[in-house]
């Protein structure tokens, strides 16, 4: 998994995507890789996992070996056109940026390609061994991953189209790029993940790395029948609660493809603690 240059991490909102991104970053850095974490949309929540106040568009060192940034749309737009499209310096910048803003607000795919472009550019630049992209939730993921196609359909030729084709090649190259989907073993996250897997099969815009099950409860060495031995009270209630959740989890785990399982972390208070603990779990897996 850590051999790829670019990993997109997505999942239904609230399943712990950012925690998975942060924990993988910590592990990769411990193994000596130079890691960049990119929050593809603003305010995606990656900052809190590194106990960083706020991330900007320039890479910021959050841990030894780990840089992180968040894609700010205006900066990303500027980089996209100025550096990647090589729009001449002499161009009337104010006027041009107005025009481009109109484009981003209205043309399908432009906003997405500008955002998803950032981690791809960083891979092209080659300053990092691994770029981890904390990606938009499943509902929006495909509009981002397919943005190069959307653009190609929209514009007949020119620099943007060429750029989109190059980006598409990077996204589709399994040696370079992979997608990690995170799900918790619950109804809606699993159903949405399965829908995404179907879509990915029909439209292989990026190759699937793995489906990670997050917040998997530990087994309880007892059965519902055993609980009858216990007096009424908290012990029995909590055990019944655990068994009920376990039964639901097992049902939904069975609906997901085989993949890494990350444990439910009881009582942890900060996102930073969660990331550290999960990175130790990954260490055993990878």
């Amino acid at each position: 998994m850590l051999d790829r240059k670019l990993l997109f991490v997505s999942g239904k909102g609230g399943v712990g995507k950012s925690a998975v991104v942060a924990s993988l970053a910590l592990l990769a850095a411990r193994r000596g890789l130079r890691v960049l974490v990119v929050g593809i949309v603003e305010g995606i929540g990656i900052a809190s996992h590194f106990a960083a106040e706020q991330l900007g568009y320039r890479p910021h060192r959050v841990r030894p070996g780990v840089d992180a940034l968040e894609v700010k749309r205006s900066d990303a737009l500027d980089e996209y056109f100025r550096l990647q499209m090589r729009i001449p310096r002499a161009a009337p910048t104010k006027v041009l940026s107005n025009a481009l803003n109109v484009l981003v607000e209205t043309a399908p795919g432009v906003r997405e390609i500008v955002s998803i472009g950032k981690p791809v550019f960083e891979v092209w630049r080659g300053g990092y061994d691994l770029v981890l992209a904390d990606s938009p939730p499943l509902g929006q993921l495909f509009s981002y991953l397919r943005a190069p196609h959307t653009i190609s359909d929209l514009v007949p030729g020119g620099a943007i189209r060429q750029q989109a084709a190059r980006m598409d090649n990077t996204l589709r190259d399994p040696a370079t790029t992979g997608l990690l989907l995170v799900a918790t073993p619950e109804e809606l996250p699993v159903l949405e993940t399965r829908a995404a897997l179907d879509r990915l099969e029909a439209e292989p815009v990026v190759s699937l790395e793995a489906v990670v099950s997050n917040r998997v409860l530990p087994d309880l060495e007892t059965t519902a029948a055993d609980l009858d031995e216990l007096p009424a009270g908290s012990h029995r209630e909590a055990a019944a609660h655990h068994l009920a959740l376990l039964a639901q989890q097992r049902r939904w785990l069975a609906e997901l493809p085989e993949g890494p399982r990350l444990p439910y972390l009881f009582g942890l208070r900060t996102a930073g603690e969660v990331a550290e603990r999960l990175s130790e779990v990954w260490d055993e897996y990878l």
Binding site: G13, G14, P92, L96, A99, P137, T222, H235
Partner: protein, 349 residues
Amino acid sequence: MTPRSLVITGGGGVGKTTLSAALAVAGAEAGMRACVVTVDPARRLADALGVDELGNRPTEVPSQPLLWAAMLDVTASWEAIVHQHAEPEVAQRLLENPFFRAIADRFPAAQAYAAGEQMAEHIESGRWDLLVVDTPPAGGGIDFFTAPRRMQEMIGGRLLRWLTGAGIPGRRALYRVTARPALKLADTVLGGPLLEEIAEFLLDLRSLHDGLSHRARAIELHLRRATSVVVTTAHPTPMREARRFFEELTPEVGRPEAVVFNRQLPDAWTKARNLRGNHIDPRLRTAVRDNLNRWADEVRRQHDVKQGFAARYAVEPIDVPWAEAAPTSVEDLARLLAAAPALERLLEG
């Protein structure tokens, strides 16, 4: 009459839709003519309420007198909005324009605006005593409140004014003076007259401006009068959303009236004594003791998170206990309210 309107916000997966439906059921049971509107395209509400096909028009819930349910259909809403504010010819051109469809389908403010429009129509219809509006998760929830203004900005906005000159010129006057060099350059980059097409589209969109701004102001007023309720669980992601709602909504439409903590575990688990009874198998004893300790940690975390929030925002949290199964009927929804009687105060103005 003006109904009591509740806008239910919060992060994804916290149970907003279920709680919205439960509140509407409680209202109907108390004799209010109640309508619940969901903007979340999930099928759950329909399933729980036993109504198969939800759309913008409210459907009567068969198993609960006085209760109706509707689901936001963004496309249909925008068709109606465009026809209402534009000449038939322009309306047709707009609805067929791919840019327009892109905006209506994806621009969060456009979806949220359509939801606000639906809400306003329900309020103005005079049909209801209680209106419960469920909102899309995350940023979408805040968009719901800022959408009328953002749509106004977009349609009347600076971008268009810049592209078209200060006034509202005719089509032919479009590419004069300021815009021309940029348009030419943009065309070489884009490989086609894309920006021109967009500008023409924006001109059509501009014709919605007067009608839509007028309407947007009315919607904003309804939103300000509505009661917003933030739903969360004690997990970090929804908590981050809940804080955003309290911080970002307050300047927009006023402070949320309540915060509901859903799926709360019993505090008693932290105060349990040793398990008594000599007959209990030692392995079972160890297993359930360790298990209770883990969950007690979780309850302590939940408690601290909740107290921290209550102190920071000076708000009394409403607890809804964890329930094993998701509600599948109106009776289940009513039971949910019975387990959290504090919710009922939200029904009173």
